[in-house]
């Protein structure tokens, strides 16, 4: 029930806004910080444009972003959504219809929506959209286990920065990713040179087109939090805490 709160005050959804019923591929790109989400997508979009497709890109971020500049250099329509004081993932999900509408106004064949990618608990994947998770070889071989639904529910996992670690580490890392998400297609991509993006381009072209995002469902619930700190509380201490507060369980693992 908690998830039905409407956090976003930016744009009210007007159900009467006319939507062009043209099919569009909806690509959601998530991933750990600095993994190369934007670089990978810029290279991929370049190939999509070569195929004559109209691509629109939207970047969701927290306080600031310069990723829109990188997308703009491709000469494509770009939008930015800054969540400011709100969890960027909640902001993202409550703006999906608006972003879709914007992209349709751009006559896009493909919408690339890049999330902020700040937290391992992010869960932006939506059924019937193409969910891409970008992680890199440098985050450590135990990290795939720590990344939750963002990795586990992705249709495609892109692994970057393979050019600077050993072959052995690449293979071990890939295996760890496979263990967390056995269904996903795993692609090795070099974000700097774009090596490997052809496979991603083909996946996007083959992905299912979407009539409308309205009524679609998240693959996994979003991280939840409605507490006094969400509402701007800054003082430390139990007497300042209200709402959904979770405490560390220090006995965890001791019974086992």
């Amino acid at each position: 029930m908690l998830y039905s709160f409407k956090f976003c005050g930016s744009v009210m959804v007007d159900a009467n806004i006319k939507k062009r019923v043209i099919l569009m591929r909806f690509v959601i790109v998530a991933g750990t910080p600095s993994s190369g989400k934007t670089s990978v997508m810029v290279h991929t979009i370049r190939h999509l444009l070569k195929n004559g497709l109209v691509v629109a890109a939207c970047k969701i971020d927290c306080l600031q972003t310069s990723d829109d500049v990188k997308y703009s250099r491709l000469g494509i329509p770009v939008a930015v959504g800054l969540s400011d004081y709100i969890c960027p993932d909640h902001f993202y999900v409550s703006n999906l219809e608006e972003v879709e509408l914007w992209a349709r106004e751009q006559n896009a064949d493909v919408l690339v929506l890049e999330t902020a990618g700040l937290c391992h608990r992010c869960a932006p994947a939506v059924h019937d959209c193409l969910s891409v998770c970008v992680i890199d070889n440098l985050i450590g071989i135990d990290t795939p286990k720590k990344v939750g639904p963002m990795l586990g529910t992705a249709d495609i996992v892109v692994i970057t920065k393979g050019d600077i670690v050993s072959q052995a580490e690449r293979e071990v890392f890939r295996h760890k990713v496979e263990m967390e998400n056995p269904q996903a297609r795993i692609l090795d991509i070099n974000g700097l040179t774009g090596q490997g993006v052809l496979a991603l381009k083909n996946e996007i072209i083959d992905s299912k087109e979407l009539g409308s995002i309205t009524g679609k469902e998240l693959k996994n619930s979003m991280p939840a939090a409605i507490c006094s700190y969400c509402a701007g509380e800054t003082m430390i201490g139990q007497s300042h805490q209200m709402g959904l507060v979770k405490k560390v369980d220090f006995r965890r693992g001791m019974d086992a």
């Binding site: 050019d163 050993s166 072959q167 293979e171 071990v172 297609r185 090596q195 490997g196």
Partner: protein
């Protein structure tokens, strides 16, 4: 099993068809890629890695065992087709050699991991100067030791049939031995290098120019003799390096043997 890869030519940077339209390399063969910086060496390697099928910049195609690669969804059988060792690569995992090799062997479902990782350590120490042990931490390895371990691991654990060797410097690793170990495992070895010794170690070399494959040279009898000379010089250099590193002075200490 991979027996042969074929590269079918596309276009150079000016959009003209490449002069070389077909190159083949068989298992156990070394193929060198040479040419000035910016001539398209990296793009060629990239095409091979992506199993290009007209759609890369160059429009090249790559055939495996004389067939286009099946690009169906299930590409898992291809995932370990190409292993790469380059000068820019480092071990970043904080773990001992033994722990890591064991983990890698498990991932690759190696039949006899204990024995295999012993052999990997042996080859590593055979290829590089200062010996390492199982308990040595990966992040403590020197450049040469890292490269030696990477080659040994690619040879015995990675098990990819094609190996790309990119600009491996001579210092700290016996490259001739490294290539012999890799080809001895039936691998196709692609070497990108500016170094004449490495170029001549290959059966054939592709000369790149303006983004295109300009020429293919088979190593001649004459060149093999030059290679033997170069190898002798390199051995002498290695001996001298070792001698000086140990703190000896020429003419004052024990003889410098070549």
């Amino acid at each position: 099993m991979l027996e042969q890869i074929t590269i079918l030519g596309g276009l150079d940077k000016s959009g003209h068809p490449e002069k070389i339209q077909r190159i083949e390399a068989a298992a156990g063969e070394v193929l060198a890629v040479a040419g000035p910086t910016g001539s398209g060496k990296t793009q060629l390697i990239s095409d091979i890695e992506q199993h290009a099928e007209y759609e890369t910049l160059t429009g090249r195609r790559v055939l495996i065992n004389n067939q286009l690669v099946n690009k169906s969804k299930d590409k898992r059988h291809l995932r370990y087709l190409i292993a790469q060792v380059s000068q820019n690569m480092n071990f970043v995992i904080d773990m001992s050699i033994e722990e890591f090799l064991t983990m890698h062997a498990q991932v690759r479902s190696i039949h006899d991991p204990g024995n295999t990782i012993m052999k990997v350590l042996e080859i590593t120490n055979h290829l590089s100067g200062e010996p390492v042990t199982f308990s040595t931490n990966l992040t403590q390895l020197s450049g040469g030791q890292s490269r030696a371990l990477m080659v040994a691991d690619v040879a015995l654990i990675s098990n990819a049939p094609v190996v790309l060797i990119d600009e491996i410097e001579n210092a700290g690793i016996d490259r001739l031995q490294a290539l012999e170990i890799l080809t001895g495992q039936g691998k196709i070895v692609l070497v990108v290098s500016h170094d004449p010794t490495l170029m001549l170690m290959a059966e054939q070399r592709i000369i790149m120019k303006n983004g295109g494959m300009e020429k293919v040279c088979r190593t001649t009898q004459e060149e093999r003799k030059v290679l033997a000379d170069l190898t002798r010089v390199e051995k002498k250099m290695a001996g001298l390096r070792d001698y000086l590193r140990k703190g000896y002075s020429i003419g004052q200490d024990t003889d410098l043997n070549d």
